[in-house]
Amino acid sequence: DMLDDIISSGTLRCAITLDFPPMGMRDENNEPAGFDVDYCNDLADALGVTAEIVDTPFPERIPALMSGRVDVGVASTSDTLERAKTVGMSIPYYAFENAVVGNEDAAMESWEDMKGKTIGATAGTYEAIWIEGQIEEWGEGELRPYQTQADVFLALSQGQIDATVSTVEVAEANVNSGNFPGLVIVDKAPMVPDYVALFTMRQEYGLLNYLDLFVNQQVRTGRYAELYAKWIGEGEPADLTIQNVYR
Protein backbone atom coordinates (compact mmCIF):
# COMPACT_ATOMS: atom_id res chain seq x y z
CA ASP A 1 0.00 0.00 0.00
CA MET A 2 0.93 3.63 -0.01
CA LEU A 3 2.59 3.58 3.40
CA ASP A 4 4.96 0.90 2.19
CA ASP A 5 5.44 2.68 -1.09
CA ILE A 6 6.51 5.85 0.67
CA ILE A 7 8.90 4.05 2.97
CA SER A 8 10.47 2.09 0.17
CA SER A 9 10.69 5.05 -2.20
CA GLY A 10 12.48 7.07 0.50
CA THR A 11 10.59 10.30 -0.18
CA LEU A 12 7.40 11.77 1.18
CA ARG A 13 5.78 14.27 -1.14
CA CYS A 14 3.71 16.83 0.73
CA ALA A 15 1.31 19.26 -0.90
CA ILE A 16 1.81 22.54 0.93
CA THR A 17 0.41 25.92 0.08
CA LEU A 18 3.29 28.33 0.26
CA ASP A 19 1.38 31.57 0.16
CA PHE A 20 -0.32 31.06 3.46
CA PRO A 21 1.97 32.53 6.06
CA PRO A 22 2.82 31.55 8.69
CA MET A 23 1.61 28.05 7.87
CA GLY A 24 3.31 27.87 4.50
CA MET A 25 5.53 30.52 2.94
CA ARG A 26 8.97 31.18 1.57
CA ASP A 27 11.93 32.59 3.47
CA GLU A 28 14.27 35.21 2.09
CA ASN A 29 16.10 32.54 0.10
CA ASN A 30 12.75 31.62 -1.42
CA GLU A 31 12.95 28.26 0.31
CA PRO A 32 9.76 26.76 1.74
CA ALA A 33 9.22 27.50 5.42
CA GLY A 34 6.41 27.62 7.97
CA PHE A 35 4.36 25.49 10.31
CA ASP A 36 3.16 23.09 7.64
CA VAL A 37 6.64 22.70 6.22
CA ASP A 38 8.05 21.73 9.61
CA TYR A 39 5.10 19.46 10.16
CA CYS A 40 5.78 17.66 6.91
CA ASN A 41 9.44 17.34 7.79
CA ASP A 42 8.52 15.84 11.15
CA LEU A 43 6.27 13.34 9.41
CA ALA A 44 9.03 12.41 7.00
CA ASP A 45 11.44 11.97 9.92
CA ALA A 46 8.97 9.72 11.67
CA LEU A 47 8.68 7.62 8.52
CA GLY A 48 12.42 7.66 8.08
CA VAL A 49 12.32 9.25 4.67
CA THR A 50 13.14 12.66 3.20
CA ALA A 51 10.45 15.21 2.59
CA GLU A 52 9.73 16.80 -0.75
CA ILE A 53 7.67 19.99 -0.59
CA VAL A 54 5.35 20.46 -3.56
CA ASP A 55 4.08 24.02 -3.69
CA THR A 56 0.36 23.65 -4.36
CA PRO A 57 -2.15 26.50 -4.63
CA PHE A 58 -5.32 26.06 -2.60
CA PRO A 59 -7.60 25.12 -5.49
CA GLU A 60 -5.09 22.52 -6.67
CA ARG A 61 -4.56 20.65 -3.40
CA ILE A 62 -7.02 17.86 -3.88
CA PRO A 63 -6.47 17.52 -7.64
CA ALA A 64 -2.75 17.27 -6.92
CA LEU A 65 -3.34 14.34 -4.59
CA MET A 66 -5.89 12.72 -6.87
CA SER A 67 -3.53 12.91 -9.79
CA GLY A 68 -0.77 11.21 -7.82
CA ARG A 69 1.41 14.28 -7.79
CA VAL A 70 1.73 14.14 -3.97
CA ASP A 71 1.36 11.55 -1.23
CA VAL A 72 -0.05 13.61 1.58
CA GLY A 73 -1.58 17.06 1.92
CA VAL A 74 -0.17 19.13 4.79
CA ALA A 75 -1.90 22.23 3.59
CA SER A 76 -4.17 23.60 6.30
CA THR A 77 -7.05 21.80 4.71
CA SER A 78 -10.42 22.17 6.43
CA ASP A 79 -11.92 18.78 7.12
CA THR A 80 -15.29 19.31 5.44
CA LEU A 81 -17.62 16.42 4.91
CA GLU A 82 -17.88 17.34 1.26
CA ARG A 83 -14.15 16.86 0.82
CA ALA A 84 -14.15 13.66 2.81
CA LYS A 85 -16.25 12.16 0.07
CA THR A 86 -13.23 12.42 -2.16
CA VAL A 87 -10.18 12.20 0.09
CA GLY A 88 -9.39 10.65 3.43
CA MET A 89 -8.88 13.07 6.35
CA SER A 90 -6.78 12.50 9.47
CA ILE A 91 -7.78 13.80 12.88
CA PRO A 92 -7.30 17.59 13.02
CA TYR A 93 -3.72 18.75 13.42
CA TYR A 94 -4.52 22.41 13.84
CA ALA A 95 -7.54 24.65 14.33
CA PHE A 96 -8.03 28.18 13.10
CA GLU A 97 -10.17 30.97 14.29
CA ASN A 98 -11.18 33.18 11.43
CA ALA A 99 -10.99 36.91 11.41
CA VAL A 100 -12.44 39.59 9.22
CA VAL A 101 -9.72 41.78 7.80
CA GLY A 102 -10.69 45.03 6.22
CA ASN A 103 -9.22 47.95 4.41
CA GLU A 104 -9.11 51.09 6.56
CA ASP A 105 -11.06 53.00 3.96
CA ALA A 106 -13.94 50.57 4.18
CA ALA A 107 -14.50 51.70 7.79
CA MET A 108 -15.95 48.55 9.25
CA GLU A 109 -16.83 48.01 12.91
CA SER A 110 -17.97 44.42 13.07
CA TRP A 111 -18.14 41.40 10.82
CA GLU A 112 -21.70 42.28 9.90
CA ASP A 113 -20.47 45.39 8.14
CA MET A 114 -19.26 43.09 5.41
CA LYS A 115 -22.84 43.09 4.18
CA GLY A 116 -22.99 44.59 0.74
CA LYS A 117 -19.22 44.91 0.47
CA THR A 118 -16.85 43.39 -2.03
CA ILE A 119 -15.19 40.52 -0.22
CA GLY A 120 -12.21 38.54 -1.39
CA ALA A 121 -11.12 35.03 -0.51
CA THR A 122 -8.94 32.28 -1.88
CA ALA A 123 -10.87 30.22 -4.39
CA GLY A 124 -12.04 26.89 -3.07
CA THR A 125 -11.34 27.48 0.62
CA TYR A 126 -13.50 27.01 3.69
CA GLU A 127 -13.71 30.78 4.08
CA ALA A 128 -14.73 31.33 0.46
CA ILE A 129 -17.53 28.84 0.81
CA TRP A 130 -18.70 30.47 4.05
CA ILE A 131 -18.64 33.96 2.54
CA GLU A 132 -20.57 32.80 -0.46
CA GLY A 133 -23.22 31.47 1.88
CA GLN A 134 -23.35 34.75 3.80
CA ILE A 135 -23.66 36.81 0.67
CA GLU A 136 -26.51 34.64 -0.45
CA GLU A 137 -28.19 35.14 2.90
CA TRP A 138 -27.71 38.93 2.83
CA GLY A 139 -28.75 39.12 -0.76
CA GLU A 140 -26.13 41.71 -1.58
CA GLY A 141 -22.39 42.01 -1.91
CA GLU A 142 -19.83 40.34 -4.13
CA LEU A 143 -17.31 37.54 -3.69
CA ARG A 144 -14.03 37.67 -5.55
CA PRO A 145 -12.28 34.31 -5.48
CA TYR A 146 -8.57 34.82 -6.16
CA GLN A 147 -6.19 32.01 -6.98
CA THR A 148 -3.86 32.62 -4.03
CA GLN A 149 -4.05 34.01 -0.50
CA ALA A 150 -1.39 36.50 -1.52
CA ASP A 151 -3.51 37.90 -4.31
CA VAL A 152 -6.34 38.37 -1.83
CA PHE A 153 -4.22 40.47 0.51
CA LEU A 154 -2.69 42.32 -2.39
CA ALA A 155 -6.13 43.19 -3.68
CA LEU A 156 -7.23 44.16 -0.16
CA SER A 157 -4.31 46.47 0.40
CA GLN A 158 -4.79 47.99 -3.05
CA GLY A 159 -8.39 48.66 -2.08
CA GLN A 160 -9.78 46.51 -4.87
CA ILE A 161 -11.77 44.62 -2.27
CA ASP A 162 -13.13 45.90 1.06
CA ALA A 163 -12.59 42.90 3.24
CA THR A 164 -11.58 39.30 3.47
CA VAL A 165 -12.00 36.52 5.93
CA SER A 166 -8.90 34.60 6.84
CA THR A 167 -7.51 32.68 9.75
CA VAL A 168 -6.44 34.81 12.68
CA GLU A 169 -2.87 33.55 12.31
CA VAL A 170 -2.61 34.53 8.69
CA ALA A 171 -4.38 37.81 9.25
CA GLU A 172 -2.04 38.77 12.06
CA ALA A 173 1.04 37.68 10.20
CA ASN A 174 0.07 39.73 7.19
CA VAL A 175 -1.04 42.80 9.10
CA ASN A 176 2.05 42.76 11.29
CA SER A 177 4.42 42.19 8.40
CA GLY A 178 4.06 45.82 7.37
CA ASN A 179 3.90 44.76 3.77
CA PHE A 180 0.27 45.72 3.55
CA PRO A 181 -0.42 49.27 4.64
CA GLY A 182 -3.97 50.09 5.51
CA LEU A 183 -5.12 46.69 6.74
CA VAL A 184 -6.96 46.29 10.00
CA ILE A 185 -8.33 43.24 11.74
CA VAL A 186 -11.97 44.12 12.19
CA ASP A 187 -13.55 41.28 14.06
CA LYS A 188 -13.65 37.57 14.59
CA ALA A 189 -15.69 35.79 12.01
CA PRO A 190 -18.60 33.91 13.57
CA MET A 191 -17.61 30.60 12.10
CA VAL A 192 -17.20 27.22 13.68
CA PRO A 193 -13.46 26.91 14.38
CA ASP A 194 -11.82 25.74 11.24
CA TYR A 195 -10.27 22.40 12.03
CA VAL A 196 -7.71 21.38 9.48
CA ALA A 197 -6.46 17.91 8.76
CA LEU A 198 -3.83 16.01 6.89
CA PHE A 199 -5.29 14.17 3.95
CA THR A 200 -4.42 11.37 1.60
CA MET A 201 -6.17 8.88 -0.66
CA ARG A 202 -9.31 7.87 1.15
CA GLN A 203 -8.83 4.12 0.73
CA GLU A 204 -5.32 4.14 2.22
CA TYR A 205 -6.33 3.09 5.70
CA GLY A 206 -2.84 2.13 6.69
CA LEU A 207 -1.49 5.53 5.94
CA LEU A 208 -4.52 7.30 7.40
CA ASN A 209 -4.06 5.35 10.61
CA TYR A 210 -0.45 6.35 10.69
CA LEU A 211 -1.35 9.98 10.15
CA ASP A 212 -3.85 9.94 13.01
CA LEU A 213 -1.31 8.51 15.35
CA PHE A 214 1.34 10.92 14.17
CA VAL A 215 -0.87 13.93 14.82
CA ASN A 216 -1.61 12.67 18.26
CA GLN A 217 2.06 12.07 18.95
CA GLN A 218 2.84 15.65 17.91
CA VAL A 219 0.39 16.90 20.51
CA ARG A 220 1.51 14.46 23.18
CA THR A 221 5.19 15.14 22.81
CA GLY A 222 4.74 18.90 22.88
CA ARG A 223 6.07 19.31 19.39
CA TYR A 224 2.74 20.87 18.45
CA ALA A 225 3.14 23.57 21.08
CA GLU A 226 6.74 24.05 20.09
CA LEU A 227 5.88 24.66 16.45
CA TYR A 228 3.09 26.98 17.54
CA ALA A 229 5.52 29.04 19.52
CA LYS A 230 7.99 29.07 16.66
CA TRP A 231 5.62 30.18 13.91
CA ILE A 232 2.64 31.78 15.55
CA GLY A 233 4.21 33.10 18.70
CA GLU A 234 2.52 34.08 21.93
CA GLY A 235 -0.76 32.63 22.98
CA GLU A 236 -2.18 29.23 23.36
CA PRO A 237 -2.55 26.72 20.57
CA ALA A 238 -6.04 25.34 20.13
CA ASP A 239 -6.73 22.35 22.32
CA LEU A 240 -6.64 19.20 20.28
CA THR A 241 -6.98 16.75 23.11
CA ILE A 242 -10.01 14.91 24.30
CA GLN A 243 -10.33 15.36 28.04
CA ASN A 244 -9.37 12.30 30.01
CA VAL A 245 -9.14 10.17 26.93
CA TYR A 246 -6.60 11.35 24.52
CA ARG A 247 -3.74 13.62 25.27
Binding site: P63, M66, G124, P145, Q147, Q160
Partner: protein
Protein backbone atom coordinates in the same frame (compact mmCIF):
# COMPACT_ATOMS: atom_id res chain seq x y z
CA UNK B 1 -9.66 -0.76 -16.82
CA UNK B 2 -9.93 2.38 -14.70
CA UNK B 3 -10.20 2.22 -10.97
CA UNK B 4 -11.71 5.67 -11.20
CA UNK B 5 -15.49 5.96 -11.31
CA UNK B 6 -16.72 8.67 -13.58
CA UNK B 7 -19.68 10.57 -12.25
CA UNK B 8 -20.94 12.37 -15.29
CA UNK B 9 -24.42 12.96 -13.88
CA UNK B 10 -23.12 15.05 -11.05
CA UNK B 11 -21.14 17.18 -13.50
CA UNK B 12 -23.87 17.38 -16.12
CA UNK B 13 -26.31 18.64 -13.50
CA UNK B 14 -24.19 21.80 -13.49
CA UNK B 15 -24.49 22.32 -17.23
CA UNK B 16 -26.92 25.28 -17.00
CA UNK B 17 -24.48 27.16 -14.80
CA UNK B 18 -21.67 26.42 -17.20
CA UNK B 19 -23.69 27.59 -20.19
CA UNK B 20 -24.35 30.84 -18.39
CA UNK B 21 -20.60 31.11 -17.96
CA UNK B 22 -20.18 30.46 -21.67
CA UNK B 23 -22.40 33.45 -22.38
CA UNK B 24 -20.18 35.67 -20.27
CA UNK B 25 -17.16 34.27 -22.07
CA UNK B 26 -18.70 35.18 -25.41
CA UNK B 27 -19.60 38.62 -24.14
CA UNK B 28 -16.03 39.33 -23.06
CA UNK B 29 -14.60 37.95 -26.29
CA UNK B 30 -16.90 39.94 -28.54
CA UNK B 31 -16.43 43.19 -26.68
CA UNK B 32 -12.68 42.73 -26.63
CA UNK B 33 -12.68 42.15 -30.38
CA UNK B 34 -14.77 45.21 -31.21
CA UNK B 35 -12.62 47.42 -29.02
CA UNK B 36 -9.46 45.65 -30.18
CA UNK B 37 -10.21 46.30 -33.85
CA UNK B 38 -10.94 49.97 -33.25
CA UNK B 39 -7.76 50.45 -31.24
CA UNK B 40 -5.74 48.42 -33.75
CA UNK B 41 -6.85 50.71 -36.56
CA UNK B 42 -5.82 53.72 -34.49
CA UNK B 43 -2.47 52.13 -33.63
CA UNK B 44 -1.88 51.33 -37.29
CA UNK B 45 -2.63 54.94 -38.06
CA UNK B 46 -0.11 55.98 -35.41
CA UNK B 47 2.54 53.77 -37.00
CA UNK B 48 1.96 55.17 -40.45
CA UNK B 49 1.57 58.75 -39.26
CA UNK B 50 5.26 59.55 -39.42
CA UNK B 51 4.96 61.21 -36.02
CA UNK B 52 7.79 59.91 -33.83
CA UNK B 53 5.85 60.06 -30.58
CA UNK B 54 2.72 58.39 -31.89
CA UNK B 55 4.83 55.75 -33.58
CA UNK B 56 6.66 55.05 -30.31
CA UNK B 57 3.36 54.67 -28.45
CA UNK B 58 2.10 52.20 -31.05
CA UNK B 59 5.34 50.23 -31.21
CA UNK B 60 5.53 49.93 -27.42
CA UNK B 61 1.97 48.72 -27.20
CA UNK B 62 2.40 46.22 -30.02
CA UNK B 63 5.69 44.83 -28.77
CA UNK B 64 4.50 44.37 -25.19
CA UNK B 65 1.27 42.77 -26.39
CA UNK B 66 3.17 40.37 -28.62
CA UNK B 67 6.14 39.59 -26.43
CA UNK B 68 4.64 38.92 -23.01
CA UNK B 69 2.15 36.26 -21.94
CA UNK B 70 -1.52 37.14 -22.08
CA UNK B 71 -1.75 35.95 -18.49
CA UNK B 72 0.81 38.58 -17.58
CA UNK B 73 -1.15 41.26 -19.40
CA UNK B 74 -4.36 40.39 -17.62
CA UNK B 75 -2.64 40.18 -14.23
CA UNK B 76 -1.08 43.55 -14.94
CA UNK B 77 -4.46 45.05 -15.84
CA UNK B 78 -5.74 44.10 -12.40
CA UNK B 79 -2.87 44.23 -9.93
CA UNK B 80 -0.35 46.26 -11.88
CA UNK B 81 -2.42 49.34 -12.61
CA UNK B 82 -3.97 49.13 -9.14
CA UNK B 83 -0.60 50.27 -7.86
CA UNK B 84 -1.56 53.62 -9.33
CA UNK B 85 -4.84 53.53 -7.49
CA UNK B 86 -6.86 52.57 -10.57
CA UNK B 87 -9.23 49.73 -9.80
CA UNK B 88 -10.96 47.59 -12.35
CA UNK B 89 -13.53 44.95 -11.60
CA UNK B 90 -12.56 41.39 -12.54
CA UNK B 91 -14.72 41.65 -15.63
CA UNK B 92 -13.10 44.89 -16.68
CA UNK B 93 -9.59 43.66 -15.92
CA UNK B 94 -10.11 40.63 -18.09
CA UNK B 95 -11.68 42.71 -20.83
CA UNK B 96 -8.87 45.24 -20.73
CA UNK B 97 -6.19 42.56 -20.73
CA UNK B 98 -7.64 40.73 -23.72
CA UNK B 99 -8.38 43.95 -25.57
CA UNK B 100 -4.80 45.06 -25.05
CA UNK B 101 -3.58 41.77 -26.48
CA UNK B 102 -6.03 41.82 -29.41
CA UNK B 103 -5.16 45.36 -30.38
CA UNK B 104 -1.44 44.58 -30.48
CA UNK B 105 -1.76 41.51 -32.65
CA UNK B 106 -4.43 42.95 -34.93
CA UNK B 107 -2.52 46.14 -35.52
CA UNK B 108 0.42 44.12 -36.78
CA UNK B 109 -1.95 42.23 -39.07
CA UNK B 110 -3.48 45.40 -40.41
CA UNK B 111 -0.08 46.80 -41.23
CA UNK B 112 0.78 43.64 -43.17
CA UNK B 113 -2.55 43.79 -44.97
CA UNK B 114 -1.98 47.40 -45.95
CA UNK B 115 1.38 46.45 -47.41
CA UNK B 116 -0.32 43.81 -49.52
CA UNK B 117 -2.61 46.35 -51.17
CA UNK B 118 -0.89 47.69 -54.29
CA UNK B 119 -0.12 51.37 -54.14
CA UNK B 120 -1.85 51.76 -57.48
CA UNK B 121 -5.15 51.31 -55.65
CA UNK B 122 -4.65 54.49 -53.67
CA UNK B 123 -3.25 56.22 -56.70
CA UNK B 124 -6.23 55.24 -58.81
CA UNK B 125 -8.60 56.51 -56.15
CA UNK B 126 -6.71 59.78 -55.74
CA UNK B 127 -6.56 60.18 -59.51
CA UNK B 128 -10.33 60.06 -59.61
CA UNK B 129 -10.33 63.16 -57.46
CA UNK B 130 -10.88 61.53 -54.06
CA UNK B 131 -9.39 63.22 -51.01
CA UNK B 132 -7.07 60.98 -48.95
CA UNK B 133 -9.58 60.00 -46.28
CA UNK B 134 -12.23 59.10 -48.81
CA UNK B 135 -9.71 57.06 -50.79
CA UNK B 136 -8.75 55.20 -47.63
CA UNK B 137 -12.30 54.58 -46.50
CA UNK B 138 -13.83 53.52 -49.78
CA UNK B 139 -10.93 51.72 -51.43
CA UNK B 140 -8.21 50.71 -48.98
CA UNK B 141 -10.11 49.90 -45.79
CA UNK B 142 -12.50 47.35 -47.28
CA UNK B 143 -9.63 45.50 -48.89
CA UNK B 144 -7.59 45.65 -45.70
CA UNK B 145 -10.45 44.17 -43.68
CA UNK B 146 -10.81 41.39 -46.17
CA UNK B 147 -7.16 40.45 -46.13
CA UNK B 148 -7.21 40.58 -42.33
CA UNK B 149 -10.41 38.65 -42.02
CA UNK B 150 -8.84 35.26 -41.37
CA UNK B 151 -6.35 36.64 -38.84
CA UNK B 152 -9.25 38.44 -37.18
CA UNK B 153 -11.17 35.20 -36.94
CA UNK B 154 -8.15 33.53 -35.35
CA UNK B 155 -7.80 36.39 -32.92
CA UNK B 156 -11.45 36.02 -31.99
CA UNK B 157 -10.81 32.36 -31.22
CA UNK B 158 -7.84 33.32 -29.09
CA UNK B 159 -9.93 35.92 -27.31
CA UNK B 160 -12.39 33.20 -26.36
CA UNK B 161 -9.60 30.94 -25.16
CA UNK B 162 -7.97 33.80 -23.26
CA UNK B 163 -11.06 34.35 -21.12
CA UNK B 164 -9.98 31.24 -19.23
CA UNK B 165 -7.19 33.33 -17.75
CA UNK B 166 -9.68 35.52 -15.93
CA UNK B 167 -9.46 33.35 -12.81
CA UNK B 168 -6.16 34.99 -11.91
CA UNK B 169 -8.01 38.26 -11.45
CA UNK B 170 -10.84 36.60 -9.51
CA UNK B 171 -13.17 36.53 -12.50
CA UNK B 172 -15.56 33.68 -11.76
CA UNK B 173 -18.51 34.42 -13.99
CA UNK B 174 -16.98 33.15 -17.23
CA UNK B 175 -16.99 29.53 -18.33
CA UNK B 176 -13.62 28.66 -16.86
CA UNK B 177 -14.31 30.53 -13.63
CA UNK B 178 -17.65 28.79 -13.18
CA UNK B 179 -16.02 25.44 -13.85
CA UNK B 180 -13.31 26.06 -11.31
CA UNK B 181 -15.82 27.09 -8.66
CA UNK B 182 -17.82 23.95 -9.30
CA UNK B 183 -14.64 21.93 -9.06
CA UNK B 184 -13.91 23.41 -5.64
CA UNK B 185 -17.32 22.26 -4.52
CA UNK B 186 -17.44 18.78 -5.98
CA UNK B 187 -13.88 17.83 -7.01
CA UNK B 188 -15.16 16.12 -10.16
CA UNK B 189 -12.18 17.69 -11.89
CA UNK B 190 -12.01 15.50 -14.95
CA UNK B 191 -15.71 15.45 -15.70
CA UNK B 192 -16.24 19.17 -15.18
CA UNK B 193 -13.29 20.29 -17.23
CA UNK B 194 -14.07 17.81 -19.97
CA UNK B 195 -17.51 19.36 -20.31
CA UNK B 196 -16.01 22.84 -20.27
CA UNK B 197 -13.59 21.72 -22.98
CA UNK B 198 -16.44 20.50 -25.16
CA UNK B 199 -18.29 23.78 -24.73
CA UNK B 200 -15.18 25.75 -25.68
CA UNK B 201 -14.69 23.49 -28.69
CA UNK B 202 -18.24 24.11 -29.85
CA UNK B 203 -17.90 27.86 -29.39
CA UNK B 204 -14.73 27.88 -31.46
CA UNK B 205 -16.30 25.80 -34.21
CA UNK B 206 -19.32 28.09 -34.28
CA UNK B 207 -17.04 31.10 -34.62
CA UNK B 208 -15.16 29.50 -37.49
CA UNK B 209 -18.36 28.53 -39.21
CA UNK B 210 -19.89 31.94 -38.64
CA UNK B 211 -16.78 33.59 -39.99
CA UNK B 212 -17.01 31.50 -43.11
CA UNK B 213 -20.64 32.45 -43.63
CA UNK B 214 -19.90 36.11 -43.05
CA UNK B 215 -16.96 35.98 -45.41
CA UNK B 216 -19.12 34.38 -48.08
CA UNK B 217 -21.66 37.15 -47.70
CA UNK B 218 -19.26 40.06 -47.43
CA UNK B 219 -16.53 39.12 -49.83
CA UNK B 220 -18.11 38.04 -53.02
CA UNK B 221 -15.14 38.95 -55.09
Amino acid sequence: MFSYTFQWNQALARLPQMLEGALVTMQVAIMSMVLGILIAIILTGFRLSGNKFLNAVAVTWIEIARNTPALFQIYMAHFGVASFGIHFSPFMSLLIGITFNNAGYLSENFRGALKAIPETQTRSARSLGMPPIMAFRTVVLPQMLRISFLPMTNQMVWAVLMTSLGVTVSMNADLYGVTQDLNALTFRTFELFAIAGVIFYIIVKVINLGARLIAARLFRY
